[in-house]
């Protein structure tokens, strides 16, 4: 394996650990419902859009595995939920989205939040047969938390989109300008 590949793997591992520390340690302590922001999920959306499916799946595997090790949900809930979300997002990207505009990212963040939440609930119920755990019903509290997660994920996606625009031109090639169209 090339030296660059080792570097890439180490960088990815550190990034995965940093994401999980932020999500599980840092964000959980924040006020104003900020703990509902799914930093890991939004990051994976951007990794999928900026690089490729392989990278996004690697990140979802690493983040899911670490979160399963450190959470008291049945083991596998996060692994499966992240993997399912990345798969659905890739399907959406391949079939329905034709560019990487701001609105595409908002739509991806919205879809990812919905799919992830649904996957978490489904896998919790699936794994409750193996590892009995108290499962929250679809009540007002859960819906409120989901609403906050949607808002914060969309806001963070918007901020991240504009921030990345300063460093990369991957998101700028959306429409042909008139001058280019004429040439």
């Amino acid at each position: 394996m090339e030296k660059n590949n080792y570097k890439k793997i180490i960088f990815n591992l550190l990034a995965i650990m940093f994401l999980v520390f932020c999500q599980v340690g840092f964000l959980s302590a924040l006020p104003l419902g900020l703990s509902d922001l799914n930093l890991a999920l939004v990051s994976i959306i951007f990794i999928l859009a900026m690089t490729d499916q392989k990278n996004a799946l690697s990140f979802s595997l690493g983040v899911g595995l670490l979160m399963d090790i450190f959470s008291f949900q049945p083991f596998g809930v996060h692994l499966l939920s992240f993997a399912a979300t990345v798969t659905v997002l890739q399907l959406l990207l391949s079939r329905y989205f034709t560019n990487r505009s701001f609105y595409t990212f908002l739509a991806l963040a919205f879809s990812a939040t919905v799919v992830y939440q649904a996957a978490i609930m489904a896998s919790q119920r699936f794994f409750s047969f193996v590892s009995p755990v108290e499962i929250a019903g679809l009540d007002r509290q859960l819906l409120a938390g989901f609403g906050r997660a949607l808002v914060f994920n969309l806001l963070f996606s918007a901020v991240l989109f504009y921030a990345l625009n300063f460093f990369t031109n991957r998101f700028k090639t959306v429409f042909l300008s008139k001058s280019h169209a004429g040439t």
Partner: protein, 280 residues
């Protein structure tokens, strides 16, 4: 720009990026990992990861806690907050003193041989670092600490904050991690007693992650706002006299068999960086 645009379109339009084979292999890999976990083959690696990474979680949690503390401080008038904080500290100290006094007084009357049971120095405890908070529906429901079954912890042990107030109870353990429900969580319940003349007993249970409700109090008992509520000692591994909170409201209806009391727990999440688990 034109060529870039074309590349982008191709990326999104062609289906090469969505490889069914890769996805199938990936899910097969995940399934294998999950199976290996439940067969306990991965236990040593998981245990190692927990031990090695626990300190990092504590550091990140501590940083988040500091931000929350800054937010909380700015949300109120600075002087008022300082005064309030001092008064709370004094109140907490005095509340513990009162609880100790009342408990020792009762014990003197009933069981002289247990006179020294409530001296703090005689209690065995294990100091733990809080690694993360777990919230559900916006309310904090539980927290994770960095000690587990390998350190002798098990479900049912009470967790107290630095000032001696009950903050929760261990509900689940892993080898080097434990989850504790917050006293205000609906998963948390304690056999409780009101520190009044009759030492009225009942069941204190968290309510929506905000307050604590004390239930199963006989209608004949006289309780009032301001009464102190402590653990009754009727529960295994939870000693008598640990402060749960104070009564803020009493719900009494002639149609009901029992009356209920609403308690205000003495939890300050900003102080919940370290805690102590009382061990038998």
């Amino acid at each position: 720009m034109g060529s870039c645009s074309g590349g982008t379109s191709n990326y999104f339009l062609d289906m090469k990026n969505f490889s069914l084979r890769n996805i199938s292999l990936f899910f097969a890999g995940i399934t294998a990992i999950i199976f290996l976990h439940y067969l306990r083959v991965l236990s040593p690696a998981e245990s190692l990861a927990q031990r090695a990474l626990n300190p990092f979680f504590s550091v990140f949690y501590s940083a988040g806690g500091k931000l929350r503390a800054i937010y909380d401080r700015q949300a109120a008038e600075r002087d008022l907050l300082a005064e309030n904080s001092d008064l709370k500290k004094q109140l907490a100290e005095q509340t513990i003193e009162i609880a100790k006094f009342k408990t020792i007084e009762d014990e003197n009357k009933l069981l002289r041989e247990q006179l020294n049971f409530f001296k703090a120095g005689e209690r065995k405890y294990l100091m733990v670092n809080v690694s993360s908070l777990v919230s559900a529906g916006g309310a904090n429901q539980s927290f994770v600490v960095d000690r587990g079954s390998a350190d002798g912890l098990f479900a049912g042990l009470p967790v107290v904050a630095g000032n001696g107030m009950v903050v929760g109870k261990i509900v689940e353990t892993k080898e080097h991690l434990s989850e504790a429900c917050l006293i205000s969580s609906s998963r948390c319940q304690f056999a409780a007693a009101i520190a009044n003349q009759n030492r009225t007993i009942g069941l204190a249970k968290g309510d929506l992650g905000l307050t604590v409700k004390m239930d199963f109090i006989p209608q004949t008992e006289e309780i009032k706002a301001g009464d102190l509520v402590v653990t009754s000692g009727l529960e295994k591994n939870v000693p008598r006299g640990l402060v749960l909170g104070k009564v803020t409201a009493v719900n009494r209806s002639n149609k009901e068999l029992w009356q209920t009391a609403v308690l205000e727990p003495f939890i300050d999440l900003n102080d919940l960086i370290f805690a102590a688990v009382l061990v038998p």
